[in-house]
Point group: C2
Chain length 332, copies 2
């Protein structure tokens, strides 16, 4: 079980402290803009390009912030994480930077680019069978056997605070671009990125509405926000957004998100694929399916950008070349 | 013919003046780095991601700098440019920003993404037949008929000075990353980007060797540097690097490059395609063939990076999805 320390609710000051710890360790990812996309939308769209972050997603931020808080004894015993691939790479790279042994539990069907990326950072990878095992249980057992610290992907105040540094950068860059944000759309799996971002934007950019965007069928946060309680996804749902398949909102993240978000939106796979193609054509960046859902909500009109200034976070770019080539070959 | 003003040799001070004019008009493109690529090379590789520039290549810099020097009468008469596609988009976007009519002469086989990009900025596009017409002559005739200013892609001091602002940013970003550059590799067609970059790096980063990188068969600058005089390509050469098919070095650019460069390198199409895949996998950016030649020289060992700190400019990302999908599908 997570310690009570890890499950306390983070505050904006925790995000600011995380930004200090991350200074010099992370890429200040650019805020991109396309005249052609602005024209199409009849609004102003700003895209936070977090696929350009170390390890190809925002996850390095939360992982490094969390691991940098471990003491010498804890570091020696190592860390264990479970992840479909981006948290895996984030923890592996942060562990290597801090000289901590890392073991990562991954689904056997994770994209190869994510498995290879995790191994390239020196982490040990253990696969589990998605049909017969629960990844949390596998990871808890392995951490217990080794006396290692389990680094959860979103049920952790320091992880959420680290992810929130994306929002801190975004607010500063929007200010420099003289953009008064009406709304910010954020990809949502367990809800860590949107919760951390919401925390800090509520302080530095209170006029902006925050929206969580999920794949259709995995819109547990959208439905939970509407219901006022944590709901699970319906069984049998499928999506190619492998990074966003969490079955229910995190306790910690939902406690923040129900207070701070305007609501949730859902987009289907075809809409996401179109957004990946537009990111390729107009922004020249590689967005993975889960990383492109917020962009998809803006470009498809699921969120109406007309007359507004809207920022979206593109949260990752770890997609296999075959899968990306297939998306490029599909017509809209 | 270009005016004598345009054919004077630019100096480092012209690049600094261009940077002032471009402030707030351009993206400060990031300098990317991948731990995996550094490990593979046994050195440190920094990648200036100019595909993230407005219009998807560095060409907007030179075009905006040149057009901003036109007086009111000249602006009213408009501009004409000839280009395989990136200078076209740069001139079109700069002309729109400054409210100047633009006509662009393009080859009939230019990538669709470049033709559509040029039109999307409001420019008029005229195609010429590569087999039977010389694009300079078509453009000169059209400019003469309209009294418009012909904006050449590299035989122009203000264009070269604008392109050199890439080098100015690169030097500052390398300094911030505590990287003492041993070498900088730059894609080369007519030689404007490398000449402008060389001008400014000779001043602010004199220890770095500058190398021009060209597609195999179009290595006129490499051969000209070795011979000490401007040579033409051999007839019948083919390459998919559509942005870098200039048949001979520019007079103005060669006068600078023969003084400032360490030499030239050539890479074949398969090597370039491998670099495009690596940019996709490790850097999450879209490099077009011509934009990837310098990266290809570093990653293939054509330039030996072992034990060195090397920066490469990735100069553009305007590639059709079908062509990019094909590159992703090829195995190394």
């Amino acid at each position: 079980m997570p310690s009570s320390h890890a499950l306390r609710l983070p505050e904006a000051a925790d995000v600011e402290a995380a930004a200090e710890r991350l200074r010099g360790q992370i890429v200040t990812t650019p805020l991109l803009e396309s005249a052609a996309l602005n024209e199409r939308l009849g609004g102003r769209l700003l895209v936070k390009a977090e696929m350009l972050q170390r390890t190809g997603s925002y996850k390095f931020r939360g992982a490094f912030n969390r691991l940098s808080r471990l003491d010498g004894t804890e570091r020696g015993r190592g860390v264990v994480a479970y992840s479909s691939g981006n948290h895996a790479q984030g923890v592996a790279a942060a562990a290597r930077a801090l000289d901590i042994p890392a073991l990562i539990v991954m689904p056997s069907r994770a994209p190869m680019v994510k498995v290879e990326g995790t191994r390239s950072h020196g982490a040990e990878v253990v696969f589990y069978d998605e049909a017969s095992e629960r990844r949390e249980e596998v990871a808890e057992r392995l951490a217990g056997e080794r006396g290692a610290t389990l680094v959860r992907p979103y049920e952790d105040a320091e992880v959420v605070a680290g992810q929130g540094t994306v929002g801190l950068e975004l607010a500063a860059q929007a200010g420099a671009a003289q953009a008064a944000l009406d709304a910010v759309l954020v990809p949502c799996g367990g809800g860590g990125l949107v919760a951390g971002t919401a925390l800090v934007l509520a302080k530095v950019c209170p006029a902006a509405e925050l929206w969580a965007v999920e794949p259709q069928g995995f819109d547990d946060t959208r439905r939970s926000l509407a219901a006022g309680e944590r709901l699970e996804i319906a069984p049998g749902a499928k999506s190619f957004c492998d990074a966003l398949l969490a079955p229910t909102p995190g306790k910690l993240t939902f406690a923040l998100n129900r207070r701070l978000l305007a609501g949730g939106l859902a987009v289907d796979d075809a809409t996401v694929a179109a957004a990946m193609r537009d990111a390729f054509t107009y922004l020249k960046v590689v967005a993975e399916p889960g990383g492109a859902v917020a962009l998809a909500a803006a470009l498809s009109g699921a969120f109406d950008c007309r007359g507004k200034t809207v920022a979206v976070i593109c949260s990752g770019g770890n997609v296999d070349p075959e899968a990306f080539g297939k998306v490029l070959g599909e017509t809209a």
